[in-house]
């Protein structure tokens, strides 16, 4: 088994370490916010609005006098859950689609390819905007809007990886032994495309956080009290003249979370398959 050496190499990887730490911090913030936040998000007071950092309010307060740190933590919960759900949709639908396209080939492959092409014809933010406008302000809106795009991404990545794996000896051997195509796909191909799929998943998680922030910045995302970092930026922007410090915290939160996931993805790629190049673009 290669696990011990994997582990040792992992420790030596700066990307993996920093990325892992940042991602863990984001996840922890999201988890902790479920049971505890420094203040209540419903604790409003015009008297202390737009205040700078203080002992009681570490990151200051927003235009309603709410604690910024509390909102950032709840925003993390929102970003993480949207990201996880959007990636889950992509994995759940996209990987079977890509895998079956690579296994069955023929008309099914062509049809799947066309569907993916149609999705890719619209830049992610654009299609997410349309889907979000249609679904309205519901909680699932950003998840579905971003998830649709993820389906196409994972279909393309898993199909390409599966076709590559299909040419390897152990797959040919399995086919020669008379295994069914489904059996071969599930038992031999799937485990061997896990690497690129996992790497892509971290990249898509990051893309989902960015897209969700953009959507809620444009007013198409999360609703209060499900604070979103993008919405916080929107609120902050309208108060730039009054409180120029307001956009710092939510912007940094987005940037650090995305940075963490990207570094984690790069680290994982170096660990699993240095030649891999995940799809990028938003």
């Amino acid at each position: 088994m290669t696990r011990p050496s994997h582990f040792r190499r992992a420790l030596q990887q700066r990307n993996l370490m920093i990325g892992g730490a940042l991602t863990l911090a984001t996840l922890m913030m999201a988890l902790v916010s479920l049971t505890w936040t420094p203040h209540s998000p419903l604790d409003l007071s015009p008297a202390r609005r737009l205040a700078g950092p203080s002992a009681a309010y570490w990151l200051g307060t927003d235009h309603q006098g709410r604690d910024t740190l509390t909102l950032i933590m709840i925003g993390a919960r929102n970003s993480v859950s949207v990201g996880l759900a959007a990636v889950a949709i992509g994995l759940g639908v996209g990987v079977p689609l890509g895998l079956s396209a690579a296994t069955i080939r023929g008309w099914w492959d062509e049809a799947a390819g066309r569907i993916v092409d149609v999705v890719f014809a619209f830049p992610a933010v654009l299609s997410a905007m349309l889907v979000a406008a249609i679904l309205g302000g519901g909680a699932l809106t950003p998840v579905l809007a971003i998830g649709v795009f993820n389906i196409a991404v994972f279909a393309r990545v898993s199909r390409a990886a599966a076709i590559q794996v299909s040419g390897r000896e152990y797959v040919r051997a399995a086919i020669a032994l008379g295994r069914t195509r489904t059996d071969v796909a599930l038992r031999h191909v799937l485990p061997n495309i896990a690497g690129p799929v996992v790497v892509q998943a971290t990249v898509q998680f990051a893309v989902a956080i960015l897209a969700e922030a953009a959507l809620s910045y444009l007013g198409l995302g999360a609703q209060a009290p499900n604070q979103s970092w993008g919405r916080m930026l929107k609120d902050a922007q309208s108060l730039l003249f009054l409180a120029p410090g307001q956009p710092l915290a939510p912007g940094l939160a987005i940037a650090l979370a995305v940075l963490g996931l990207n570094l984690l993805g790069d680290g994982l790629r170096d660990l699993l398959d240095p030649r891999l190049r995940p799809l990028r673009g938003a």
């Binding site: 390819g113 830049p123 349309l130």
Partner: protein
């Protein structure tokens, strides 16, 4: 080659048609319509129905779709339901901002990314490389609209170098117009530059490993000459591809950045038209974007096929 061309073009056409149907159907399920919005909280049912009729919202689904596509093909884009003016004119106004904005962003991102990418490749695993890679990580992580807000804060509010939310137009000297597009373009360019720098680095590294580069080196050419004469030319193919593909993403990115700088560009019109339920405008803008992406994909595929004959035979992805 001809067979490949035909096959790819037909595929692109199918994608385009499918995309137009998807866009059209998606938009018909949007809650609310332009007539309701114009009537607001006033007007009775009769006035509402009359306005729907007048705005062309009353026909059958298939009829409206064919009308729209027919109009697109014959160059008659129709009238905006909200403004009652020709859509073509509105788009022309907006494109005067969005095309230069996206163009400027492409140029800026290329100007930033190419030198950085090459520097990183030639300095592989040395400080220069780490520096560039750190920059690309930051560029990828910072949302363009946050960067835009920070630019507004610093240059527009603190330093007052630029007026926010005003576009001087191209009527006079182009300099004021270019000036007002510079910051938005830079905000857009940064994340694209990060991706492009990574691609450039990878492409240059790949080319450096090629036999003919080793041969050139063995022949005693200086590293600089090798880079200029052999590496750069070959590495430019993947780099150009990515630049092409990025133009599509940039057009989408303008939506958010135009919102921050309140520039009256295509992205603002799209957002406005979604909120106004001016569906014909939304459909047309979205199809314009999708058509552009599909066209670029087609051109890239054809170029690749010209370079690498193996692609012509099978599916290349």
């Amino acid at each position: 080659m001809i067979a490949f061309l035909v096959r790819r073009s037909v595929a692109a056409l199918i994608t385009l048609t499918a995309a137009s149907i998807v866009v059209f159907l998606l938009l018909t399920v949007l809650p609310g319509d332009a007539a309701q919005l114009q009537m607001g909280t006033e007007g009775d049912a009769a006035a509402l129905a009359a306005l729907r009729e007048q705005l062309g919202l009353a026909g059958s689904l298939v009829g409206r779709y064919l009308n729209w596509v027919g109009g697109l093909l014959t160059g008659n884009l129709g009238l905006s339901a909200t403004y009652a003016t020709p859509i073509a004119g509105m788009l022309a106004d907006r494109l005067q901002i969005t095309v230069p904005l996206a163009g400027m962003a492409v140029i800026l991102s290329t100007l930033i990314a190419l030198p950085l990418g090459m520097l990183a490749a030639t300095q592989q695993n040395r400080p220069g490389d780490y520096g560039v890679m750190a920059f690309t990580q930051i560029g990828l992580a910072i949302p363009s609209f946050w960067l835009a807000i920070l630019f507004v804060l610093l240059f527009s509010i603190q330093l007052q170098w630029f007026d926010m939310g005003s576009f001087p137009g191209w009527a006079g000297s182009p300099m004021p117009a270019l000036g007002s597009l510079f910051l938005p373009a830079l905000a857009l360019a940064l994340s694209e530059a990060a991706i492009l720098a990574r691609v450039t680095r990878g492409a240059v590294l790949d080319t450096l490993r090629e036999d003919y580069v080793r041969t050139a080196r063995a022949k005693g050419l200086s590293p600089g000459a090798v880079l200029r004469q052999h590496v750069l030319r070959n590495a430019l193919i993947p780099v150009t591809t990515i630049v092409g593909l990025q133009v599509g993403f940039l057009l989408a990115g303008t939506v958010v950045v135009e919102a921050v700088f309140t520039l009256p560009g295509l992205g603002q019109l799209l957002l406005l038209s979604i909120n106004n339920r001016d569906l014909l405008v939304v459909q047309t803008i979205v199809m314009l974007g999708a058509g552009f992406v599909i066209l670029i994909n087609l051109v890239v595929d054809i170029l690749y096929a010209l370079i690498d004959p193996r692609i012509r035979r099978g599916s290349h992805r």
